[in-house]
Amino acid sequence: MDIVGSYKPLLAISVSLIAALFIFFSGEKSRNLREVWTILAAVIKFTIVASMVHDVIDGKILEYTLASIEPGLSIQFRVDAFGLMFALIASFLWIITSFYSIGYMRTLNENAQTRYFVCFAIALSAAMGVAFSSNMFTTFLFYEIITICTYPLVAHKETPEAMQGARKYLAYLLGTSVGFQLIAMIITYSISGTTDFSSNGIFTELRSQVSNTFLTIVFFLYMAGVAKAAIMPFHAWLPAAMVAPTPVSALLHAVAVVKAGVFVALRIVLYVFGIDILSELGLGMVLTCFASFTILAASIIALRQNNLKARLAYSTVSQLSYIILGASLLSPSAITGSILHIALHAFGKITLFFTAGAIYVATHKTNISELNGIGKQMPFTMTAFTLGALSMIGIPPMGGFLSKWYIILGSIEADLIPVIILLAGSALLNAAYFLPIVYAAFFNEPQDHHNNKGGKGNINEAPALMVVPLLLTAMGTLVLFFTPSTFLHLAIKVATLVTGN
């Protein structure tokens, strides 16, 4: 574990911030140039992040201190295996999403595209910031930046519903993070004099000074503070945020934002409290209950949604809780599984959102009941959808299986057999809300009269700029099943570090 000073984390964060400036000044007049900046930034960012993989797998930790406020309180970046994993996924998917966004925005001729790309770039910077933070303080800083700069993206359409959704989004995310997370963090600092993550928990050394009740309260404050992880009852913002343009839902509300939430939740569980304290106080169990409830309830709600994006949103809510569930089991395999799930769910869910966007662009349909026979019209898109859905359900040749496998292993390690039943039940529910779409798309006849002209077996795909990215991510879910080595390596590294074996 040698710590190396390096500018790379700062570079990775600032590259898209600088790009945001360029994008802003290019503006609507030179839109091609503007898009070049986006893609350039995405590629550079991914290159920087990827260049750190080697060092981290070698056991090095890259560190950079931006500003030091007080001893124990600084804005500091530290690249460890866990953070790198998240950064890797987010930055890689940003490249793909950039192309997709360009296709989506231009085809629909959306307004305020400059604002959209600027905010997107900043959001990615902030997500990198969350990934690379070495302490709770820095994490909170970037966590809030994410909230603020995604707000315009949610309100992008400027319609009353969009405003309503954005308000809800802001109220949930800001209210919980300022109201709970900040307080919890300050309490942590006031007790321990530091907010630095440590692999066996900040509180472990101070165990004797703090009472159990107090720790429990702090833990709940923290968990309530990460509303981005969408654990019930703080999930309602996610479906509301679906008014955003689909690329936003795809990258931010399936990868960057919500994963930042889960990521922070995991940081808190593993690095602030440490698994020893949690298992001693039985808090892991409580969290397991909350997560299990969320998984089931969200799946059941998803069944009843007719809007495609709303169904995907509830599916996201339930899938995010898998990750929390994995961590809450506090056993090595479960933690490995939950970290893997961050990556695998990202690929699967982004594919699904991409397809939803593609369908909307090609046919302007948003409801599941209208999707009959669409598979004939958009074969590539719907194939990708099928792959994504299978991965969500967790059927073996798809990536989603791997992470569930590890979580099940973990629940056996933790002696929690009901969790296995829960996971099986949830897989069934997943199948129940995804497969009918696939069935309807490929096997039902297009029944509606007003779409007859397109329905005569003509292929009517979305633009290539959109279809290629979604095929790529769909392939990704397949490929990851066979070669998950990088992610698996990183995840196992984290799990061994925090569990100590």
């Binding site: 406020i69 007080e70 809030e144 300022v178 300050i186 309490i187």
Partner: protein
């Protein structure tokens, strides 16, 4: 070199003298007043930078007026705290001197412009005088110079301004008189007016009723001056109806300097143990501050006039500072002092943005701001930055001071105080995101001809906004090199 040696007094005297030159020059050539004012305040800014550099290097130093030795003569004592406040005041006054040109041209008749700059410089001189002097009575004199010029400046605003200014005058005079009474009591019992001297003389007299009464008068007097909660009624009217440049300058400096005087009296003239143990005023102040924060925020939420919203927010912000002071521990005090700077920057930015909007649209009603996000992108970006800061969200400056305030309350286990801080953060977020939503996402039919404000207004706005963004990251340096030394030793 002579300039640097005498920087402490020159900072006060030069604006004072130039302000009177301004009148004479104004009779001859009106256009010269503006550059004179800007140059003078720029010079003051350079001097205060020098002052703070030498304070950091050599520590506290003093300047004797007329060469008389301290307890008899007037002494200017420069330590970390007032060097810090002085640089804030001179920076803000310099910024708004630049800003004022265009906005004042639009709001008052051209004959009165020299008088405006005269009063403006007097106000700046008074504020700098309050911060730098080490003599209680001198503080009173400068307090009144400041207040009188503020009354006059506010009265040149819109049609309701004279009435608002009159109410302010009555309240302000009561405050000043109470302060004067406090000075009188201290003088009767110790025979000294020098702060350092008093600090040495007073501890033996702490249980005397006269001293306790004096302390009470001081606190009430200053509370009126800084619009602390039950005495806040004059503030919203006065700041709403004043000309934009004036309300920006006055709002961002006067209450802060008043808070500085409060800190001086509570923790320099008196020892901290006086206000925590002997006369437990900190507990009372803390609760009132919590009430101020909550009421200020709620009342701000109920307004739709942008300047009135900001005025009520000032009341809440004053509550923040007083709360930090009254928590009486290291973090709370650090937070309060840091918040003086951050709040000065935020208020400067917000009021100047409000001024810019009024300059272009002529409306103060937030519901008519639709579509301004496109027409005035830079101004609105500044609004966004300061809104984020005032809601206490990172990475802006407001977050860092709020962090310290919260930390202070939590060290003392005062959960309700912490709750009120959080509450106000959230309410501020609601207020400003409502405005931002209108600005960026609503359309408004009459905004066709509106464009960005002139450079002389835009640059100050952007500088303050940049300051809000950047100073947060340097809070660590500011604390370790300045504020750390200003914290009373007992904490």
């Amino acid at each position: 070199m002579i300039v640097l040696e005498h920087a402490a007094i020159l900072v006060v005297v030069i604006p004072l003298l130039v302000s009177f030159f301004n009148v004479i020059i104004g009779l001859w050539k009106k256009n010269l007043c503006y550059p004179m004012t800007v140059l003078t305040l720029g010079f003051c800014l350079i001097l205060t930078v020098n002052i703070i550099v030498s304070v950091i290097e050599i520590g506290t130093f003093s300047y004797r007026l007329g060469g008389w030795t301290p307890p008899w003569g007037i002494e200017y004592v420069i330590d970390h705290l007032n060097a810090y406040i002085a640089i804030i005041v001179s920076f803000i006054s310099f910024i708004f001197a630049i800003y004022s040109r265009k906005s004042i041209e639009k709001e008052i008749s051209s004959e009165k412009i020299p008088y405006f700059y005269t009063l403006y410089l007097l106000l700046a001189a008074g504020l700098l005088g309050i911060t730098l002097t080490g003599d209680l009575f001198n503080i009173f004199v400068f307090l009144e110079i400041t207040s009188l010029s503020a009354y006059a400046l506010i009265a040149i605003g819109d049609e309701n301004a004279p009435l608002a200014s009159f109410n302010y005058l009555i309240m302000g005079t009561i405050g000043a008189c109470f302060y004067l009474l406090g000075v009188g009591y201290l003088y009767i019992s110790t025979g000294s007016l020098n702060i350092a001297d008093l600090a040495g003389l007073l501890p033996g007299l702490y249980h005397s009723k006269t001293i306790i009464a004096a302390f009470g008068f001081f606190i009430v007097g200053i509370a009126v001056k800084i619009a602390f909660f039950p005495f806040h009624i004059w503030l919203p009217d006065a700041y709403t109806h004043a000309p934009s440049a004036v309300s920006a300058f006055v709002a961002s400096t006067m209450t802060k300097v008043g808070a500085y005087v409060m800190i001086r009296i509570m923790y320099t003239v008196f020892e901290p143990r006086f206000s925590t143990d002997i006369l437990p005023i900190t507990a009372i102040l803390g609760w009132i501050a919590a009430a101020a924060i909550i009421f200020g925020s709620i009342l701000a939420l109920a307004q739709k006039d942008i300047k009135r919203i900001l005025s009520y927010i000032i009341i809440a912000e004053v509550g923040y500072i007083v709360m930090g002071v009254s928590i009486a521990n290291k973090s709370g005090f650090t937070g309060a002092v840091l918040h003086i700077m951050n709040d000065a920057l935020m208020m400067a930015c917000l009021f100047s943005v409000a001024g810019a909007i009024i300059y272009r649209t002529g409306s103060r009603d937030i519901y008519t701001f639709g579509g301004l996000g496109r027409k005035m992108p830079f101004t609105m970006a500044a609004l966004f930055v300061s809104a984020v800061s005032i809601a206490g969200l990172p990475p802006t400056a407001g977050f860092f001071s709020k962090w310290y305030l919260l930390l202070g309350t939590i060290y003392e286990k005062k959960w309700i105080f912490a709750g009120s801080l959080i509450f106000s953060s959230l309410v501020n977020a609601v207020i400003f995101f409502r405005i931002l939503e209108i600005v960026y996402f609503k359309k408004h039919p009459q905004t066709g001809l509106i464009k960005e404000v002139p450079m002389s207004m835009l640059i100050p706005i952007l500088i303050t906004a940049g300051g809000i963004l950047i100073t947060g990251f340097y809070s660590g340096d500011i604390i370790s090199s300045i504020i750390r030394f200003a914290v009373p030793r007992e904490f």
